[in-house]
Subunit: 325 residues, 2 copies
């Protein structure tokens, strides 16, 4: 089995590649080769199949998609994208990379199949930013995609293409709408969502963290390990029952900031909680207000996608995977 | 006020242009010029403003969009598209015309605005084919778009673009998801939906008509006159409350074939009903099964979009507009 991973130098991309190398197989089939593509160099984990290579390339540039597809990968994990803030600030660039670039991959696959039968599994990293308010209390699988950002629009458009290319038999697509990943390893960043990880990660390391919103704020979370699990499962799940519903909200933990803090208290005690400093930030609070806190991902759950059950588990995953416990 | 109409030679396009010429104004503003574009010649009704022209052009061809936009129409009615069956049979052509062609119009507008402030109202003819089964009993505005055709996919993707271009302030978009138009004037055609009109139109003219499905089949209808009214209203409605929900299911009459026949009985008597011949067609029946019969178009209704209330009215509109009553 040959596997292509785009965005392989990103946080989730690297973890996905590490897991693939560790497993040595995907589903029941041994992995013969991995092709890792990103705009920066992708690390190749020790123990990777001999025929593994890391390519520095922008998949959205003319001709690159065909180059990536012409060795006929059996599974494509397409994680590469420019992030929400970049896509919002750079309108043309966002559409060129997130939408047209992905379409170029679909087209390369369709054209490759004209040379001889070829229909890879295409796992597409999508986002809950395809949704927009007003939200019901819990967002069902049948909820309309009305994104409030260009990033969300590009992902929602790609979901539609993925479904149509799947329906026509050109590829076998599964779109994975990721929850907010928590606890992200590393340093705080400028994303409005950064604090959801920061208020746990920094105190677990004995450092102060800022909390810019109230404890009542509710959001939808899964660990990096769960995210990797979604992608692996998406690559192997039976898609015959999906019909045209190819993109799915992934399971997650619906929790308030207050519940995050309670889990931190259980895991690391009162001293850790005391490191969280309330620093109200109306700008962040306003952005976060436009996000939903609860989903009903029945389709993904029925297909066996799994996330953590609560924030205690999310913290435990971080301690195991990032703190060496 | 300058108006551009694409698809102006089509059945609805012609009726829209006739109405615009008859009204002489759109909302409160007099119409100074009409530019009519289609791949065949568009009729110019008597009494059209002096500065009216019909252009034979394919809006999706390179450079054409910029040509259409560079005289800065205040309102654009974009009705041109290839139909469902054509888009399904010709995959690349469908995307090129229905999706990329419309995107080219959006881009021409965005680029025109770089020369100086310009933000036209863009009325987009969309379709209920953006939806796919399984359907709830009545489809709400918040229902996900999961099209089961390339045509529906192209329209759903364009709806997303229309919303994002509107959100970014590049244009002021309104997407109009038309019900099945009934009673279509003219002859039966090969569309699977043709019989919905045929079983009324032919008997009203004293001719036989085939009914390929059962009387229990339920569908969603509006007259050609109502469709024109939707477009006119979409061009003038206050969009400030819409947010990113720019495309809306239009009001219509939810009726079964049996209810159509009852309305025919009221309008034209038992002899007319006797002209309907049951000729079961499993192929047509299967296609029609994938269509929904009832919608809850609350957003459009709240904005003042109006259709007929029942099939008696739909027949009356046909008699007035097509039979000279």
């Amino acid at each position: 089995m040959k596997i292509l991973v785009t965005g392989s130098a990103g946080m989730i991309g690297r973890k996905l590649v590490e897991r693939l190398v560790r497993d040595g197989r995907l589903g029941t089939k041994p992995i013969e080769s991995l092709t890792l593509v990103d705009v920066v160099d992708s690390p190749i984990p020790a123990g990777a199949p001999y025929d593994t290579k890391a390519i520095v390339a922008d998949f959205s540039e003319k001709g690159v998609a065909a180059t990536l597809i012409n060795n006929r990968p059996d599974v494509i994990f397409h994680l590469a994208a420019i992030v929400s803030g970049d896509a919002e600030a750079n309108f043309e660039k966002g559409y060129r990379i997130n939408f047209n670039g992905t379409w170029a991959l679909f087209e390369a696959i369709r054209q490759e199949a004209e040379k001889g039968p070829y229909k890879p599994r295409f796992v597409f990293a999508s986002t809950l930013a395809v949704f927009g308010p007003p939200f019901p209390d819990s967002i069902p699988d049948s909820f309309a995609t009305t994104p409030t950002s260009s990033y969300g629009t590009q992902k929602a458009m790609t979901e539609l293409l993925l479904a149509d290319y799947s329906r026509k038999g050109f590829l076998d697509g599964v779109g994975v709408r990721l929850p907010t990943i928590c606890i992200r390893p590393g340093k705080p960043n400028k994303a409005a969502s950064s604090f959801f990880s920061g208020i746990l990660r920094e105190p677990l390391a004995g450092q102060e963290a800022s909390l810019p919103v109230g404890e009542e704020v509710r959001h939808w979370f899964a660990s990096p390990r769960a995210a990797v699990g979604f992608f692996i499962h998406a690559a192997t799940v039976d898609t015959s029952a999906l019909g045209v519903r190819r993109s799915m909200t992934m399971p997650g933990v619906s929790a308030t900031v207050g519940e995050e803090i309670e889990a931190l208290r259980s895991a690391a005690g009162e001293d850790a909680v005391a490191l969280i400093k309330r620093v109200e930030d109306p700008f962040v609070a306003k952005i976060v207000q436009g996000w939903a806190g609860r989903y009903a991902p029945e389709l993904a759950a029925s297909l066996g996608f799994q996330a953590e059950q609560n924030f205690d588990e999310i913290i435990k995953v971080y301690q195991e995977d990032e703190m060496g416990r």
